[in-house]
């Protein structure tokens, strides 16, 4: 079949089969004319591919035949009557129709939203190598009359906890180094909202890959900074370097 100088036999027959008879001559003629044109211009392989694609794109209501559901006319009549009955019943009992169809619609919608929600919950930030064993430490402070919940823990707790609990294999800490820092360079000011201080194993710990730079040595220089791609500072850095 490969390298044939004629349009694919199978697709020709497929097209013949589903195309309305009154259009077949015109459409098949046009497709064939284009096929032979493409054959000269683009070669056999591409011409065949285009022909096949064109035939598949012919599958549209204006081109395909009306296929009979069955040749058995009793079956067809019965189907017609049942369909008509069903429709008439729906029209007659408007309230129940509304409740049933509305309920079905709402339940399908709820189901779809749930699926989307679960899908998004289980699929984001999956790149962390030990995501299932990574925990964030929080702080609950119990007072006699109430309990306060904090998402922040003291800096030294990590080291002490690692000593006290052998289950802790590794830890890393982050510290917000400023909310809304203005960085000015050459009269251009950038507002950076998420600058975070961290320790050397941060990138290894969370499995974050660097686009550029040496991962081993990034923390060798005190006060060094790592830029994420969407930071405005990054545009500046590209200008300087």
């Amino acid at each position: 079949m490969h390298g044939s100088q004629h349009p694919s036999e199978f697709y020709q027959r497929l097209f013949r089969w589903f195309c309305k008879d009154e259009f077949f001559d015109e459409l098949q003629g046009d497709l064939e004319e284009e096929f032979y044109f493409n054959l000269k211009e683009l070669g056999t392989k591409q011409a065949q591919a285009i022909y096949k694609k064109e035939v598949l794109k012919m599958i549209r209501p204006s081109v395909i035949k009306r296929f009979k559901l069955s040749n058995n006319s009793i079956f067809y009549d019965m189907f017609k009557i049942n369909a008509k009955l069903a429709l008439r019943n729906l029209v007659k009992h408007k309230l129940y129709t509304a409740i049933n169809i509305g309920g079905l619609a709402v339940s399908i919608a709820v189901c779809a939203i749930l699926l989307l929600y679960v899908n998004s919950e289980t699929n984001y930030d999956n790149y962390h190598p030990n995501g299932d064993r990574t925990y964030r430490m929080a702080l609950d402070r119990f007072y006699p009359d109430h309990t306060s919940y904090y998402a922040i823990t003291p800096f030294s707790i990590a080291e002490q906890a690692a000593m006290d609990f052998p289950e802790i294999e590794d830890f890393t800490r982050i510290f917000p180094a400023g909310f809304g820092v203005n960085v000015t360079y050459n009269n251009e000011t950038f507002l950076e909202n998420n600058i975070i201080a961290s320790q050397a194993n941060f990138f290894e710990f969370f499995g974050i890959k660097l686009l550029d730079g040496n991962a081993e040595k990034i923390f060798d220089v005190p006060n060094s900074i790592i830029l994420s791609e969407d930071m405005q500072l990054n545009t500046l850095a590209k200008k300087i370097l």
Binding site: D25, D30, E33, E54, K57, R60, S62, V63
Partner: protein
């Protein structure tokens, strides 16, 4: 569905057929639309548009000759009817009227606010 309004692609197809004159059949119409840089369309999509235009009475078609390159299948030539031309004029007039009512300033492109 069937009114005298022209869809955007329908208008394009009618104009292309007028550009091609006597040589307007499936292959040439498609090539011309592609050549004018408008878009790539499948033969099937073109057929849908053409048959709808024919139903609306904007197009006439007649069987043409069959050539070797077409595997013996005859061509079908298309021709815009008077009704089709009227519809084109009407579409153009509407558009011109709207264009004329827009002050020049508002048509200037704005890149920054």
């Amino acid at each position: 569905m069937k009114g005298n309004n022209l869809g955007e692609f329908e208008e394009l197809a009618l104009l292309t057929i007028l550009v091609l004159g006597d040589d307007a059949y499936g292959v040439t119409i498609r090539q011309e639309i592609e050549k004018q840089g408008e878009r790539k369309i499948s033969r099937g999509a073109l057929h849908t548009a053409l048959s709808r235009l024919e139903d609306k009475g904007f197009l006439n078609s007649r069987q043409g000759e069959a050539t070797e390159a077409r595997g013996g299948h005859p061509k079908r030539y298309y021709e815009v009817t008077n009704k089709g031309k009227e519809a084109l004029h009407e579409a153009k007039n509407t558009r011109d009227r709207l264009w004329n009512q827009i002050p020049e300033v508002r048509l200037e492109l704005q890149y920054a606010w």
